[in-house]
């Protein structure tokens, strides 16, 4: 349907035309379609990471609906008589028995279970990688801070959702995970015991947990996730996508390909590619073979009890923590649990959530940003990100310290001690190294701008000197390499007013000045036009 500037009535002739006309007369969709059908999306592989999350979430919904049709969320005891003979005649919960039935007696059930679980891993991994992309490119800056917060909430909810789902089949590993969770809840000061009793309906494991987790897993959390994903996407759509710097790409435009048809085909195609890939994994690679683990019995345990990867950091932090506990005035404060399970993740996650606001405060930058930073051009931010990754990664590795021990012939104690040191030293070293690398890359960019690209052609001057010919960069590349901002640190000059009274908020201002020195004290300046002209005229190419 095209619209016409004249007042002539357009009479649709095709079926599609008639249908859209019918809808338009009731919903007025042509106005929205006019603006959005040819909406432009920029092309870059790193912009596809968020889509991986969206698609794996849709796959989770679809496969999850199938699973709910056959899963029995109950801790009631039954004696198994299904087709998996090694567990024939064993007492187990209905939840575990129905998961066995899905795996062995429902056609396609095992496939759906495995698709669901692989999709969950892809979902959380996708969120992590997507968040890192947003972080390292500064895409969280104004006006996208609120969308960062929505995304952050989605990350936390995804962890919660994953843990709830991992716990539902009531196998030996999931029960062990819940037992650890209960231990963590018990450690919360003052209210911990009460929370645990409310959560589990009394003593662990009780009889109500799985039905409750089921509601949380299939209704509460996915409902919120769905709502937040919708808000997240509306904001992306409304604020328009960021783009990389380049010729013709400015803060006031977005350059790319139109939604209809190119991005419909590319994004739609990507959905099927992701779904197909996960379906292939579901058909070819085993995941969570609960029949190997056996039903949960609270007195049984297996070596190598591990959570899914996204809980690995918490697990590793618990394993790493020294055994500090305070007993005083008739109360117990379990620092050995609280610090790794509550305090450290609390700080880490709060830091992640507020980082955009912190950086905005440091830079004092009030402009809208639609052009992405190359990570090298914000060395301190990039270094903070790397330090965070190192911190998280060491916790994560320590979550599998027993497997590392057996596979590399080390002792668990050695690995734990090494990690206890590395968790402090590693991020500092990562921070330092990353900044050095960033400065190096920035200097290389600067050289490229000033002296051109190495052509690989060696010439010999009449004096007999050898030199390589450098070809000057095309204007587009020059523009691209100098499109970034260079921030300077803040210096305080007037610390008191004319009457000698310290200025208000002085301490805050001093703090901010220090923060800017930390961020921008060391920097590589952009080449100026003058420098470029000098470099050209000196002829030292």
């Amino acid at each position: 349907m095209s619209t016409s500037t004249s007042n002539e009535e357009i009479v649709p002739t095709t079926l599609g035309g008639k249908a859209s006309d019918y809808l338009d007369q009731r919903l007025g969709i042509a106005g929205a379609a006019k603006k959005n059908l040819r909406k432009i999306f920029p092309d870059h592989w790193s912009f596809m990471l968020g889509e991986v999350c969206l698609y794996s979430f849709i796959i989770l919904l679809l496969s999850g609906i199938f699973l709910t049709l056959f899963f029995t969320p109950s801790m009631g005891e039954v004696t198994y008589n299904g087709s998996y003979t090694p567990l024939d005649g064993i007492k187990m919960s209905e939840a575990y028995a129905s998961t066995l039935n899905i795996s062995f007696d429902v056609r396609g059930g095992l496939l759906m279970r495995q698709i669901h679980h692989w999709a969950a891993l892809v979902f959380v991994m996708g969120i992590m990688v997507h968040m890192l992309r947003i972080f390292f490119t500064g895409a969280f800056r104004k006006p996208r801070e609120l969308n960062w917060l929505i995304g952050f909430t989605l990350f936390v909810l995804a962890l919660l959702e994953g843990f709830a789902g991992y716990s539902l089949p009531d196998d030996l590993l999931s029960g062990t995970g819940l037992r650890i969770m209960q231990g963590i809840i018990l450690s919360i000061p003052i209210v911990g015991t009460y929370l645990s009793y409310f959560f589990f309906g009394g003593l662990f494991p009780g009889h109500v947990l799985i039905p409750r987790l089921f509601t949380v897993h299939i209704l509460l959390v996915p409902g919120i996730i769905l709502a937040l994903i919708t808000a997240h996407l509306i904001l992306v759509f409304y604020q328009k996508h960021t783009q990389w710097a380049g010729p013709g790409r400015t803060n006031e435009n977005v350059v790319g390909l139109p939604l209809m048809p190119v991005y419909m085909a590319k994004a739609g195609g990507f959905f099927f590619v992701v779904f197909g890939f996960i379906a292939l994994l579901g058909g070819l690679v085993s995941i969570n073979p609960i029949w190997d683990y056996g039903p949960y019995v609270p007195t049984q345990i297996t070596a190598g009890s591990q959570p899914d990867f996204y809980i690995g950091f918490f697990e590793g932090a618990l394993r790493m923590m020294p055994n500090w506990e305070i007993n005083a005035w008739g109360h117990t404060l379990s620092l050995n649990i609280l610090i790794p399970a509550v305090v450290v993740p609390g700080i880490l996650f709060t830091g992640l959530a507020i980082y955009p606001f912190f950086e905005a405060w440091v830079t004092g930058d009030k402009r809208e940003h639609h052009i992405l930073d190359r990570p090298r051009n914000m060395p301190t931010r990039t270094a903070i990100g790397v330090a965070g990754i190192v911190f998280y990664g060491i916790g994560w590795i320590n979550g599998g310290n027993d497997l590392v021990a057996t596979h590399f012939n080390l002792s668990v104690e050695t690995i734990t001690w090494v990690d206890r040191v590395l968790i402090f030293v590693g991020p500092v070293f990562g921070f330092w190294l990353t900044r050095r690398i960033c400065f190096g890359l920035q200097r290389r960019d600067r050289d490229k701008v000033l002296h051109g690209r190495e052509s690989g052609i060696i010439t010999r001057s009449p004096e007999g000197q050898f030199s390589e010919i450098h070809t000057p960069l095309p204007q587009g590349d020059l523009h691209k390499l100098t499109a970034h901002d260079v921030h300077r640190p803040l210096t305080l000059t007037e610390v008191t007013d004319s009457n000698g009274v310290p200025a208000p908020k002085l301490r805050l201002a001093k703090l901010r000045a220090r923060a800017t020195r930390w961020y921008f004290g060391e920097r590589v300046e952009k080449p100026t036009e003058e420098e470029y002209r000098q470099a050209i005229s000196s002829g030292h190419h």
Partner: protein, 360 residues
């Protein structure tokens, strides 16, 4: 290195700072040459190549349809049972049904997606178009109008003139969500002292976990002579056999381990006294977060928790020698009854399992 530092668009607004030396160099010394000219692809200029592309896309869509049909055929034709398996390198023996369904579904979806993407990449336009982007901030006029409208609404409601209404509304709204918490009270019972109790009392018979029948109602006791030095037995109180629905909760709190050591190896007199001829009983529940600790090394007497590697020395009152657990494993005093079976001499002298606030 000198730079242009006059541009200070990005300044903050802290009162005392002088923007001396601080600022953002945002302007680009090199003018924007504009979008480069579009370069055609082979498919744009050569119809033969374009037609080949078209055939590839159509081929992928046909493959998808065929795989979809194959999926449905496999659903009915490949038996779904533990005996029908396929075995090939490098994956090994796997369920034939799962393999066939996963492969066909995967191919159906993947080739559908690959077809669409290939189509977009080769036959749809790849001319990059710029679209204008407007600042998100509203114009001052719009802001003023919005503020005025809001003010008008506020005045129409008499919100300011009627503080009584304002305050009571805010107060009432503040308490209104509380029932949402209140109503959750019946989620579970109050802890009381249940977190401190186990099923162990003086004379409670110790049951060998390995002897408990599959239905959980039969089990047999243990005599001291059943254990050699170095023997490990997981055990439970006899009460679990008759606890019915409550058996699982009871086991969780009351699980113990029996170990027989050479009494000479035991470092603590109390541990010897609470044991029986070198047989000692310890809680099986880790004092860290409650996993069953059961990895007993009979030469070192170390007991390791597989969850977080807390290590307890069973020859020394269950003392923590490594890992995050803060407290020793509680020991259960044991003796033998008239029939010669091992029984508890008394209950635990402290709560077992993870710490909690009220534990003290």
């Amino acid at each position: 290195m000198s730079g242009d530092m006059t541009h200070d668009e990005g300044h903050g607004s802290v009162a005392v700072e002088q923007e001396h030396g601080h600022g953002v160099v945002a302007e680009n010394p090199f003018a924007d040459p504009g979008l480069p000219e579009h370069q055609p692809r082979l498919t744009d200029i050569d119809e033969k190549v374009a037609r080949k592309s078209e055939r590839i896309v159509a081929g992928l869509f046909i493959l998808s349809a065929l795989a979809t049909i194959a999926f449905m055929v496999c659903y009915t034709e490949v038996p779904n049972n533990t005996a029908t398996i396929v075995d090939f390198f490098p994956i090994g023996a796997i369920s034939a049904s799962n393999f066939a369904l996963g492969l066909t579904l995967g191919v159906a979806l993947f080739s559908m997606g690959a077809g669409a993407i290939y189509w977009a990449r080769t036959l749809m336009t790849d001319v990059e178009l710029p679209q204008e982007r407007h600042l998100l901030e509203s114009t001052p006029e719009d802001k003023a109008v919005a503020a005025a409208e809001f003010q008008q609404g506020l005045e129409d409601s008499a919100w300011k003139q009627r503080p009584l209404i304002r305050r009571t509304l805010i107060g009432a709204m503040a308490v209104l969500p509380l029932p949402a918490l209140w109503i959750l009270r019946d989620l579970g019972p109050l802890p009381g002292t249940t977190q401190r109790q186990t099923a162990w009392t003086a004379g409670e018979l110790i049951i060998n976990d390995n002897s408990i029948s599959l239905d959980g109602t039969q089990g047999s006791g243990i005599k001291p002579e059943d254990l050699q030095v170095g023997t490990l037995v997981s055990a439970s109180p006899a009460a679990v056999l008759t606890a019915g629905d409550n058996a699982v909760n009871m086991m969780t709190m009351s699980a113990i381990l029996l170990v027989r050591m050479n009494p000479a190896d035991i470092k603590s007199q109390q541990e010897i006294d609470w044991g029986y001829e070198g047989i000692v009983a310890f809680s099986k529940i880790c004092t860290h977060v409650g996993c069953p600790v059961q990895l007993y090394e009979q030469q070192t007497h170390h007991m390791l928790c597989p969850c977080h590697q807390s290590t307890f020395d069973l020859s020394d009152n269950g003392r923590v020698v490594f890992g995050p657990a803060a407290r020793s494993l509680p020991q259960l005093p044991i003796t033998v009854n008239a029939d010669g079976y091992l029984v508890a001499k008394a209950g635990f002298d402290q709560p077992v399992g993870p710490s909690f606030w009220e534990r003290g």
